[in-house]
Amino acid sequence: MPGATAALHPDPAWRGRVTATVVCLLVLWPMLHAAEFKPWLLFDPQSLRAAGGFLSDFLRPVHEAEFLAMILRDTWQTVAIATAGLTLALLGAIPATLLITERLSLSLLGTRRMRWGSRIVRQLLRWVLVLLRSVPELVWALLFVRIVGLGPTAGVLAIALAYCGMLAKVYAEILESSDAHAMQSLLTNGSGRLPALLYGALPESAAELVSYTVYRWECAIRGSAVMGFVGAGGLGQRMDESTKMMAGGEVATMLIVFVLLVALADLVSKMLRRRLG
């Protein structure tokens, strides 16, 4: 019957597909409007000329020895901000981990219920850590630039605060996910809390703790480069200045250095994790 086959649409699901597309487009329209999505602006002659000049400069990265030495100093500053920030973060995160780890609660072990006082202390500290890590590191940097002024101090403090919150939370999770038995028997047999942690939980979790810390160091390097854009020193600050002056050649050199730095940090972090983890 030719008539019956002609009445059937070749795609039996076409009705659903068309409806879904229309609904998506209707939802998307206000979004496109809010994001000021106007691709034709890119092709307006004035902005084309600006972008064209900037991009053609990109093809000639600046490579004078003096400029390269300056970039190298900034790159080291970026790494130093990340390292110093992470060290300070560890100074805060390790005591915080010891305080919030529930495995170390003697009252929980003895009576299966935590004492009120320690429960309140733990919960308060957890909230402080949530606050520290929920404010983006870039916003911390912006605030510290207002307090201590332009320069690496703001970057170091921003990384220290934001990473303190993250590290303490993840450290506590790693310690809690280790086998509880060793630590519990040490504690019930009268060992102190710190030895119980060091001998009962740490050997099992050490590899994971170290590998997470190294991974965070890698993130901190990326973060400190980005934080320079709000004035927190290092490679980012220099890149921001060169972009504002539309010096495409300088920006190109810095982007190449930045990509190399990220690749190098990735490599070193892989090597360290294999060695220490």
Binding site: L28, P30, M31, L32, H33, A34, A35, E36, F37, K38, L41, L42, S47, A50, A51, F54, W76, Q77, V79, A80, I81, T83, A84, T87, S134, V135, P136, L138, V139, L142, L143, R146, I147, V148, G149, G151, P152, T153, V156, R222, A225, V226, F229, V230, G236, M239, D240, T243, M246, V251, L255, F258, V259, V262, A263, L272, R275, L276
Partner: protein, 263 residues
């Protein structure tokens, strides 16, 4: 009876050297940075910091300002969604050559491009794209799109390469066109994974879009930067609160969605 303890593990010299090198790195970092601790801990610095912090309370709660913040919040969401959609389209277009469908040489080249797109953070892209797109959310949207295209392109390409090739080969052997064979055999198998990657990146992009504005690329970040540079601390406090609420809402939604999907 003396118990027989197993011999201690050998101490490796390499690890010791590595630890010393790490220590040297930390010391060198602190030594080389011009940190102003002394200026930071003088009584007057502490006093001015306290004054600065006290300036944040109470957050600005006038209805007109709240509406403005809500507008910026909506702009942030729109930037993240449109940027992610752009990235999905571009990522898919780049994933086909990166999955080795047009020869090995092109695969290597496109993967290199994807690596470069991915290793430059969104914020740096935004700062660069401001030159072409001007101040405002459009530059931020493009920046999110470009960076995420690098991430998604790589993930999509890996997903496409991991699909077992037999079903597509069977369609091709029976005379289907290459595009039809890809669309009906390979794509449906990779689609669930690609969708979950895209959702995950959208979640990341919402968080990124909130701060992207500090270089002038729209959304909550631009508002924060504006009010901070005018020292309107109470308005800035409201914007920071809005950011925290957005991040908390995204975290809660993603947690709920994940639990619903994996149950």
């Amino acid at each position: 009876m003396k118990s027989q303890l197993p011999p201690p593990p050998p101490r490796s010299l390499g690890t010791l050297v590595l630890l010393l090198a790490l220590l040297a790195l930390v010391v060198a970092s602190f030594a080389s940075l011009p940190l102003q601790w002394t200026a930071f801990f003088t009584p007057e610095a502490i006093g001015s910091a306290r004054e600065f912090l006290a300036g944040f309370t109470p957050p600005e709660m006038a209805p007109a300002f709240l509406m403005k913040t809500l507008g910026a919040l909506w702009e942030t969401l729109a930037m993240s969604l449109v940027g992610t959609l752009l990235a999905i389209v571009a990522g898919l277009a780049l994933a086909l050559p990166a999955a080795g469908r047009f020869g090995g040489a092109l695969r290597g080249l496109v993967r290199l491009v994807l690596n470069v797109l991915r290793s430059i953070p969104e914020l740096v892209w935004a700062a660069l794209l401001l030159v072409a797109a001007g101040l405002g959310p459009f530059a931020g949207t493009l920046a999110l799109g470009v960076h995420t295209a690098g991430v998604l392109g790589r993930l999509f390409a890996d997903a496409l390469e991991n699909v077992p090739p037999q079903s597509e080969a069977a369609l091709r052997d029976n005379g289907a066109a290459p595009l039809a064979a890809f669309l009906y055999a390979t794509l449906p198998q990779a689609l669930p994974q690609m969708l979950s990657y895209s959702l995950y990146r959208w979640e990341n992009n919402i968080r990124a879009a909130a701060v992207l504005g500090v270089v002038g690329a729209g959304g909550l970040g631009q508002m924060l930067k504006y009010h901070l540079s005018l020292f309107q601390m109470q308005s800035a406090a409201t914007v920071v609160l809005a950011m925290l609420l957005l991040v908390a809402a995204v975290d809660a939604a993603s947690f709920a969605l994940r639990r619903a999907l994996t149950r």
